[in-house]
């Protein structure tokens, strides 16, 4: 019954995945399972047997996204950032602003006001090494 979040952070030492609210509201604990964004605070570890789980540490090919967050001011205090980047990585290629807003509706940031985050994601999509 252990949460995926706790296994990642405590057993594997992968502390890039953050705990915010612990109730599926804030998205700070977002990871990808089979490429789809999920809240790792609500997932029993038993349910990820044989699944591919991607955390911020293992997000390959998303350099453009991470660079864009730095360049465009997409990160401030940083606790929501890993979840934001993973939710962004799960967006369809060429997502428009409306799709980005919907795709990140489950990720809450208390610093940036979101504009920098949306700008980062759109900026990353336009740069040559776009995310997988």
């Amino acid at each position: 019954m252990k949460r995926l979040l706790d296994v990642l952070r405590e057993d594997f030492g992968l502390t890039g995945t953050k705990e915010g609210c612990g109730e599926g509201e804030c998205g700070a604990c977002t990871v990808l399972i089979g490429g789809e964004a999920v809240n790792s605070c609500l997932i029993p570890f038993a349910q990820v047997r044989d699944c591919a789980v991607t955390t911020i540490e293992g997000l390959t090919g998303a350099g453009a996204l991470q660079e864009a967050f730095i360049r465009e001011g997409g990160a401030q205090c940083g606790i929501c950032t890993p979840g934001m980047i993973l939710a962004a990585a799960a967006l369809p290629a060429g997502a428009d602003l409306d799709q980005i807003r919907r795709g990140l509706a489950g990720n809450i940031c208390r610093c940036t006001g979101y504009e920098g985050i949306y700008r980062s994601i759109r900026g990353a999509a336009q740069s040559p090494s776009s995310p997988e």
Partner: protein, 273 residues
């Protein structure tokens, strides 16, 4: 996490028959689907249950298919599955509308239709849709299956006719004739629990269901009859205001909910005429 996880146990069946045998032998074990409600309670330390049955490996409960004229939706279908289903889009678009407004993408990817029904929150966003659609809940146990009309499923606040040895395996939605309408009113578009949620069908007579205005989701038979008889929206608004009994709580007030419910009724009637 306020619940001591070491005090909990999890059964992990690989198939539906195995799950049903486990439920027969240990009735009262709590089925666990997407976890999006259950783990919130676990995290708060408010869930009394200690024994759980993980359903995630029962792939057969995730089908969405047409049987004659009935859309049969496996209980483990996620909100994302509902949003991607051409059958749902064509036949029950208001179910997709409800799915789209539940949580964020992360919740939609894990939360299930069967879980929304089983959790039985008065604010469950798919529940007014199922009520207005005259859906049927398919319950299965080791002894066999039975079908319960959705309007007879709940017996009180988070209480239902499901026995401890039964599992919700599917939701069946018969053909709907008439324009469908859905609207959720919450604090913001995403990640908000409904203040009022309405689903309705412009059939004859019309079918109207509301969430967050009573201990369970409700149909409004008096309001439906009023509209069918007179077609006067002003009269129907007055009937509705007497028919529902919302409460003040941390999300809203009874007065606000009654006013919004009336306005939603008027909007439904106007937009489906």
């Amino acid at each position: 996490m306020r619940t001591a996880l070491s005090s909990l146990s999890l059964l992990e069946p690989e198939s539906l028959p195995e799950a049903l045998s486990m439920l027969r032998d240990a009735p009262g074990v709590t089925p666990l689907a997407g976890g999006t409600d259950l783990y919130v309670s676990l995290n708060f330390g408010t869930l009394p249950d200690t024994r759980f049955l993980d359903l995630s490996r029962i792939g057969s409960l995730r089908d969405i298919r047409l049987q004659k004229d009935v859309v049969s939706i496996g209980a483990l279908s996620t909100y994302t599955d509902l949003l991607r289903s051409p059958l749902v889009a064509e036949r029950v678009p208001i179910l997709a509308s409800a799915a789209r407004e539940i949580g964020g993408v992360q919740i939609q990817n894990r939360g299930t239709l069967g879980g929304n029904v089983a959790n039985g929150s008065p604010a469950g966003d798919t529940l007014p849709v199922l009520a207005a659609a005259d859906a049927v809940v398919v319950l299965e146990s080791a002894r066999g299956a039975r079908r319960v009309p959705f309007g007879e499923f709940y017996t009180g606040y988070r209480q239902s006719v499901r026995r401890g040895d039964e599992l919700i395996v599917a939701i069946e939605i018969p053909a709907i004739h008439g324009r469908q309408w859905f609207r959720k009113v919450g604090t913001r578009a995403a990640q908000a629990i409904s203040k009022v949620v309405m689903a309705a069908v412009r059939s004859s007579p019309p079918r109207i269901a509301l969430g967050s205005v009573a201990p369970t989701v409700v149909r409004l038979p008096l309001t439906e009859a009023s509209l069918a008889a007179s077609g006067s929206i002003e009269e129907a608004r007055r009937v509705l205001a007497r028919e529902i009994h919302p409460i003040d709580d941390l999300r809203s007030t009874a007065a606000y909910r009654r006013r919004v419910a009336e306005n939603l009724l008027a909007q439904f009637w106007r937009e489906t005429s």
